[in-house]
């Protein structure tokens, strides 16, 4: 414990040297900390220790600032010390000053470490901790983040990000990026979520970000589309123009889209473009080969429900199998109502089975008692039972308890 406190003391001293106007109160406090450990000695000669304290401060600060003065001061200090030593039984304070000097030496290493780690003001006098919450009261950057609505709790769960966030200086590292995002039309309310999801955006050079925006401009993305992209996909700006270009090209070629379609797709579901490409290839295979949609149908599906490409393909094929084989919905109907494929299988199943027991499961629009598949999956259970099944909730619950 004492070692820790000393270490903290050392870092404090070295740091305060850098900015002179701040040093005074902290130095006094640090020295008082030390004197507090040696109360028994202090009770004897209190005025002398005070004297030495006052002398010790300027020397320590000036040692750094200009070495020319330090020699003179050292000489003065030595004289002073000799003067003190002449008076008897006051060797304690000299030991103390020696102690501070000797402990000063490793402090340089500490400081070099700090600089290497590139952790800024926030690192000062902090001890290791498990979460960012311990630093919030001390770090102005984290306080600003809280005001923006950044969820520090979810940042610290990802490896390495807590350290990175702590090292940020709001004025220098964060503010330019927020201005930049604001210029792109990202609303201030979504800054919090954006930083929560992707704090590493502060690592990227702002010129690079500008290049990426310029790329989208050159590809004729409108301002509204760009704003949607940056707001709904915090990771978009992390991708280099080369990668984005390759991916947009891939979507264009694979699904035979024209330029407007690509722009529409990217702004409708910006996360799809930066999604895991392996997953997208798998989903494409699943939709084309396993479900058997043809080229135009796939394009139609992609533009109306791009989320289908981000769903686990096993679940997707299960839903499709139920809708197509058990419920008897044709491919055309599924293209018309892609919502059916985005609802979970158990939901589809229990609603369809309930309608089947009521004799209302009739999805052919040309016959009587038609129930739209879109109505089937939309709304909560109460809405479904009252408006689609035209029954009551008790009956539905009794039915569900026989499953």
């Amino acid at each position: 414990m004492i070692i820790l406190r000393n270490l903290r003391f050392i870092t404090k001293v070295t740091k305060t040297d850098a900015n002179i106007p701040n040093y005074l109160p902290k130095n006094i406090r640090s020295l008082r900390n030390q004197t507090r450990q040696r109360v028994e000695s202090l009770t004897t000669k209190e005025e002398h220790t005070d004297h030495v304290e006052k002398l010790a401060q300027p020397t320590r600060t000036e040692q750094r600032v200009n070495t020319g003065i330090t020699e003179a001061v050292n000489k003065y200090l030595k004289n002073e010390l000799r003067h003190i030593e002449n008076k008897e039984n006051i060797d304690v304070p000299t030991i103390q000053t020696n102690a501070t000097h000797s402990s000063h030496l490793p402090a340089n290493d500490e400081e070099i470490d700090d600089q290497l780690l590139d952790v800024g003001e926030a690192k000062k006098d902090y001890v290791p901790t498990f979460n960012l919450a311990a630093y919030v009261n001390k770090s102005p950057t984290l306080q600003k983040f809280l005001q923006l609505g950044v969820d520090l709790h979810s940042i610290e769960r990802r490896k390495g990000l807590a350290k990175f966030t702590l090292g940020l200086d709001f004025e220098k590292d964060v503010q330019p990026y927020l201005y930049f995002l604001q210029d792109q039309g990202v609303p201030a309310e979504s800054f919090g979520e954006l930083i929560t999801k992707n704090p590493l955006i502060f690592k990227i050079d702002i010129d690079d970000l500008q290049t990426r925006v310029n790329y989208l401009e050159s590809k004729k993305f409108t301002a509204v589309q760009r704003q949607r992209i940056f707001t709904y996909n915090p990771f978009w700006l992390m991708f280099s123009t080369h990668r984005i270009d390759k991916r947009l090209g891939h979507f264009q070629k694979e699904f035979h889209l024209n330029g407007d379609d690509v722009r529409f797709l990217a702004s409708k579901q910006p996360r799809l473009i930066t999604y895991n490409m392996d997953h997208i290839r798998k989903a494409s295979f699943c939709i084309r080969e396993e479900m058997g949609f043809d080229k135009d149908e796939i394009k139609c599906l992609l533009l109306s429900k791009p989320r289908l490409w981000m769903i686990n393909s096993d679940e997707l094929i299960e839903r499709f199998a139920y809708a197509h084989q058990t419920m008897g919905l044709s491919h055309d109907l599924l293209i018309q109502f892609p919502e059916v494929l985005t609802s979970r299988e158990f939901r589809l199943r229990q609603r369809h089975e309930f309608l089947a027991t009521l004799g209302r499961a009739q999805y052919d629009p040309e016959k009587d008692l038609y129930t739209s598949p879109k109505d089937l999956v939309s709304g909560n259970d109460y809405h479904f039972v009252r408006n689609v099944a035209k029954s009551d909730l008790e009956t539905y619950e009794l039915f569900l308890k026989t499953r």
Binding site: N22, L24, P25, K26, I28, R29, R32, N131, L132, A133, A134, V136, N137, L142, Q143, L146, G149, V150, D151, L152, H153, S154, F346, N380, D381, E397, L400, K401, T402, R403
Partner: protein, 313 residues
Amino acid sequence: MSLTKVYDAPTVFRHLNGIMNIYKPAGMKVKHVKNAVLHNIAKDLNEMKVREPRKLHTPLLEPGGDANPLLRKINSIDLADHILATGPRYQISDIRCALVAGLGIHTSGVLLFGINKGINQSQQVQRNRPVRAYHVTGRLGMATETHFPDARITVRADYRHVHPDRVSALAASMQASHQRKMYELCGVDLQSQAAYEIACKGLLRPADNTQPVIYGIKLIDFQRPDFTLEIHAINECEEYLASLINEVGIELRTVAHCTSIRCIRHGHYGVETSLLRHGWNLRGVVKNMREQRQVLQKHPHLINQDKIELRND
């Protein structure tokens, strides 16, 4: 007694004790059911009025304190206690939850959980081994590897000769032979006076929880090829019930597999009051626990069992 609406999350959490009765859907693991329910409870608690961040207590007269920027915020809030810094006030791990008795993945029906201080009760309920009642549906004509429909089919057979009275007779004879086994499992020597006295009392609970015991098998529905048996049992598991269906099939000179298992009663906790999937939220859980508390009041022997035989009250 006047009823007031509660908006305060700590109040609700303090009273979140007891046993809840969840309707488990088939095809979902117990672990996932538990996670889903607890996740929704924590989410709803966090949406209510949660505790405000603490006030910051900085000593006013700290040595060298006048330059301390914190001093200016004496009465301001402690940001380290802010929700964004510490995470949500209620998390899944804050809610203690214990299962009374598990159900397999193919089983649907009554699933009991003890929550917070209700864990104690739930353990006692489990220790007393209440009887569970099942509706088990089998399908004749096909046997599968695991006796469940999602496995590979191993045998096909003709089932047109099977009649419901034949199935009922078989069920009755199986019930008789299982009851004979029940006396062996009650924990005393069969040739002793103690065994005779215990046997005089009627149906007995087993001494340990290793061997499944079946008390009743009854045919309640027969629509060839599907048939449904109602089974009352202790210490059973879904594989055991499925293999029972398989045996029924073989005894009937055909084969069968099990298409669904539904637990309709666990002790005195019935399926009527169990909580369906769309009620898995704080409001539903609180209401459900209130209902289940009445069950426990009506039948105190669910916790303090004093008799070895099965009881009807």
